[in-house]
Structure formats: C-alpha cells, structure tokens
Symmetry: C2
Subunit: 335 residues, 2 copies
DNA sequence: AAAATGTATGTAAACGTTTACGGAACTTTT
DNA sequence: AAAAGTTCCGTAAACGTTTACATACATTTT
C-alpha cells in the first residue's frame, strides 16, 4: 500500500483532519480515547508526516544545504562530520551535495537548494568558479551563507578559513631551517585564493631568509593525484632538481611521494617533503609525512555554529563573521 | 527580499497563476509577449520553483535517499560517486545521510526519507543494526530498496555485494602459498555478514591446505583505526606472534601497519599483511599494501542502475536482484 | 434559570504548483 | 451571416499539513 496521509487516517476513524493532527502532536484538547485510536492507527499504517507539506506551510525547513567540491577527500568529509554533528544537535538536517569543481554543477546545486527552501547554505567554492552571481543571489533571498576553506571576497557571506599565508610561511621557514637550498613549491589551481596565499606565505619565508625562488621551482597542479604525480615527476627530472618540496596539500604530497619512489629518491635524505592538511593517513606513510595541519573537524563545527546563529537570529542584518584558524606545523619524518 | 512565488509574479503582471506557470514551462498556448514578460520578471526576481510544492503535487520526487555508515571512508565515498553519477544522468537527485553505525540514527534517517517521499532508498546497513523493521517497512510503502556492500537476508531489497567468501579464501590462499605458517585473521564486527563470510572463506582456505587456525589468531575489531591498532598490538604481543595477518579491511590493515612499525617489525620480512578493499592510498604505503579489491565505484553505479530500473518499472512486483562482484587479489609488496 | 466556563471537535484557509476544463474574443470557413 | 475553429487566458481543484476560529455540548457558577 502506498503512503498514508493524515486525511486517510481521518477518514478511517470518521473524524476531522484537524483532530488527527492535534492527536499526533499530543495537544491538550483532544480526548485521550481519540488520541489513542489515532496513534494506534498511525503506527499501524506507518504514517510519516510529509516534509513537503510542512515545508510548504511553515517558513522554516530546519535544513541546511552543504556543498563541497568532492566528497572522497578526507579533508572535506571531516568537515562534513563536524558540521553535521553540530547541526543535528540543534535539530537541523543537512543536505550534502558535491560540485566536482564544475561551475555549472555548483550553480545547479544552488538553484536546487533555493528550490528546497533550505534555511542556510554552507559551501566550499569549486576551483573553476569565477562568477559568483549564484552565491550572491542568496543574499537577495535572505538565505544566510557560510564559506569554509575556500572563500571569496566578492561573495557576501561568513568565512571560516585558514590563515593560509601563515601556513605557507611556516612550511617555507621549516624547510629553510632544515638546511635545504633548492626549495620548490607545487601550488594548487591559480584560481583559488588559498593557492595564492600559501604561495605568498612561502615566498615571504624565502625572502626573509634572503633566498631566491627559481622560476622553474614554482609549478601549479590540481588536487587530483594523477596530475600532481606528473607535475612532481617533471619537477624532479629537472637538470637541477630541488632538494625540498612544499606541496600545497597532502594529496599533492602523495603524488610527490609516488614520483620520488619511482625515481628511487629517498625521503628525507634526497628530498624533503612537507604537505598541508594533515590527513589521517599522514602518519602511516613511509616516511610519516611532515605537514601543516588544518583543523577540519573543528572548521566544520564552527561553520555550523556561525551559520545557525545567523539563521536563528531575529535581526535582519546579522553581521558577517570571519573565523581564521591558525595552521600548525606537524613535524614527522619527511623533512 | 524573501523568496517569490508564482503568485507574486501573477499579481505583479495582473495575470493568473496558471498563465505564469504555462509561460515558465514554455507551453504553446501563451502569447509570446506574455511569455516574455513572465520570463523576464522571474529572472529578475530570482524565481525558483518550490520543490516542496511540486513534491506535494506529483507522485514522484525524482530523488533517491542514500544511507552510508560513514562518509569519511574512501570505500563509501567512492560508492557515493558511482551512484550519484548514474543517478544524475537519469535526472535524479541524491540525498546523502550517514548513520555512523548507530541504529537509532539509521531508523531516524529512514523515517526522514519516507517523510521526504523519496522514490527509492540505497543503504549500506550499519554494524549495530539487528532489527530490520525500519527497512522492511519500505516494502509496505512501495519504496524500492537496494542494499550495497552490507546487506541482510532478513530484509526485502536488492543486493549489490561482494563475494566475500571468495575474497577471504583468496586472501588466505595467498598467504599460505607465500609460505607463512602462523596466519592470523583480524575480523570485523561479528554482527556483519561480510565479516562472517570473509572469515569463513579464510578458514576454508586453511582447511583446504590442512592447516589449523589457532583460536588466539582469530580476533575481532571495529573499522575504527584506534580499535584495530590496539587489536593488532595485542595480537603481535602474543608469546608466539603470527607471521602473517589477513585484515578484514584496508582500514584495519592501516592499524596493523602502525602497530608493526611501533614494534619494529619489518613488513613483509617479519610479518606478511593483506587487506581488503583496495583503498587509493594502498600503493602509497610503505610497503605498498597487498589487498583484495572491491570495485567500489562500479558497485555504486550498479546500485543506482538496479534501483532506478525498479523505480521506473511500471510493474508492481519488480523482481529482486542480486549482483555479486568478484573480488580480486591485488599483489603489491606487503606479503 | 440564566450565564459563564470548559471540553472536544469541526471548518476553512493557507502554503506553491500543476492541469483539466471552460470560455471569451478572434479568425476562418461555409 | 451563421458555424466552426483557433488563440489565449482564467477558474478551481488537488497535493498534506497546521492552526485560528467557530461550534456544540456538558458542566459549573451565579
């Protein structure tokens, strides 16, 4: 049998839908006997209220939309966990979507979230997104927006990000202190702000140590392993290869690791390597990966907190928040 | 300004909602001029149709609910990707939820999915779930159900699983062939069928080789790293420790790897190790992990295909399908 | 005995959208 | 000039739920 509605129950018991609704909500003004009958029948017929009907009737859906570039990435899945846990505790559901870094998908997802009348949106902007109309539209519609990890200044929304400049600086500084001379950086997609900041921090560290960065030691890649692996191979096959690499993320560092192994380079003897993110597999690699940690779970929690505070605030012009997490050096054995 | 509806547009243009609706759907029977005006205003006001209203009106929501134990697990996130891609291609959306292996959460999620009137449900059952009423309820409500990876015979639904017995057998066989004598197995939670099957396959391999399995060489753990790590330590600290371990999953193998490193055991010299899943990090570990591969992405695709076929089939009693994937031995260097 | 209060229920509108049906104002055909 | 057809648009019902308001009866208070 198909799904039953409150109407079906009313018809079967020969009472009005209003009474059924009241009984199901355990209101004071319904006879215990009637209440009993309603609850029993509802249970027996597996009645579940239609979230569409309720969403239509009430202003609030108690749902927040979450958009990540990709889900099969530890960093993002940990953020999801942090965000979900806080949201659940406050009685909110989370709808998760992945943009796959494809601009058109991102736009479509936002349209969908608006259509679903979510109470708020949390997003980590995809790397191919250059136009932010779809995100700024949310402001016009009074839907609070929080950007985590990948934020953009042209977008009106809260920001929960890392101090990427400082992270880049710390990485560069540590490689310099460890005595390396030919330090390279594999940066991320140049469209992303975090790419630029980590790079700038890294460059600043070199500058402060009066070291120069050779142009051929600065290369870009995507976060996909095949790309970073190839990029690393190219870098290590230079006539004068680097003796240290700062990878824009641990995923990219994995590509370097693979390349180094193929070229029979010993880490850290022949090549020092430092990543960024602090993935859970880091300590299990050989050698355990030195990296800059991002507190992904906490970032997810904080994103949820800020977003929910905005959603539940009665004030029309809730102030935009920016929360900056301090990256920390995690010393293991790859440097 | 808040979200606009078709009614708002109708009022502003002094026409009926029916005409607006027709214009937005590009129907033949509306004057081009009117159509033009409607489309322009809709665009300007960022109109997006309410999925709640549509969901309420139509029988179908073109949405499928996806429930995984945890999202921060490569295996599941790859399944999600496979499933989502097939679903999107056929015009379906996917709502992702995680049960965290908590029974109560799983029940709540199913309730929610019923409330959201999804067209179908795909689930990998949580390890603490012993009662399956919530899942069998779906059949009563005519909502197709597909179980992937973790299925249960007491539940009415399609199954997309691995031949776990064969996988276990292959793992055992390979360790035996490699000349190991004291072979141990770290099994998963005993509630899961896949745990039992992999164990049985493993035992069968030993039996076929006339080898006996010492009771202390068979231990259980969860898929959480801290647990498997401790379990591995206990196992390796036995008076007579094993010289080979078959871990029920790559995640568990990571725990073993960590323990072995702490005890200064060289793999594969002192200890042979084989996992199950074939995670993407496997080849990057030291040593690269030998494992039994599960085709996660393909399993996700197949789950979507079977579920969608069921959803779109006009027949009331669509036949239950079972798709069994053959696990394959992936030889690297840990054995 | 009339008035006031309490208890249990029903009526109806609203949320946003689609669509079958009907009809007015044309244009074309006889 | 009547009949038939075309073009464009409006009316209203339906989906499932909540809730303000009304109502009917019973009980208590004056």
């Amino acid at each position: 049998m198909p799904q039953v509605s409150i109407k079906d129950i009313a018809r079967m018991l020969n009472i009005s839908v209003a009474t059924v609704s009241r009984a199901l909500h355990d209101r004071y003004d319904v006879k215990p006997e009637t209440k009993q009958k309603v609850l029993e029948l509802a249970e027996q017929l597996n009645y579940r209220p239609s979230s569409h009907a309720i969403g239509l009737l009430k202003k609030r859906t108690h749902t927040i939309g979450l958009v990540v570039p990709e889900i099969d990435n530890q960093f993002f899945s940990e953020i999801i966990n942090g965000l979900e846990n806080v949201a659940y505790q406050q009685g909110y559901n989370v709808m998760i979507f992945q943009s796959q870094n494809i601009y058109e998908r991102e736009v479509k997802i936002i349209d969908q979230l608006i259509g679903a009348r979510v109470d708020g949106v949390a997003i980590s902007i995809g790397s191919s997104t250059q136009d932010f109309k779809h995100l700024n539209m949310l402001k016009d519609l009074d839907i609070p927006l929080a950007m985590f990890d990948r934020a953009n200044d042209q977008v009106y929304g809260h920001k929960i990000i890392n101090d990427n400049f400082e992270g880049g600086y710390k990485a560069g500084e540590f490689l310099i202190k460890s005595g390396r001379q030919r330090i390279a950086h594999i940066a991320g997609p140049s469209t992303l702000k975090l790419t630029r900041l980590r790079m700038q921090g890294f460059k600043a560290a070199l500058r402060d140590a009066q070291m120069e960065l050779r142009p051929e030691y600065l290369v870009h890649t995507t976060f996909r392993m095949e790309d970073s692996h190839q990029t690393a191979l190219d870098l290590l096959n230079l006539p004068e290869p680097p003796d240290a690499i700062f990878a824009v993320s641990d995923y990219v560092a994995l590509g370097v690791l693979k390349a180094a192994r193929e070229l029979d380079l010993k880490i850290p003897r022949d090549l020092a390597l430092i990543g960024f993110t602090n993935l859970a597999v880091g300590p299990l690699l050989e050698p355990p990966l030195t990296t800059i940690s991002q507190q992904s779970y906490e970032m997810g929690q904080e994103t949820a907190r800020i977003l929910l505070e905005n959603i539940e605030s009665p004030e029309k012009d809730f102030k935009l928040q920016t929360r900056i997490f301090k990256p920390e050096l995690v010393i293991r054995s790859s440097v």
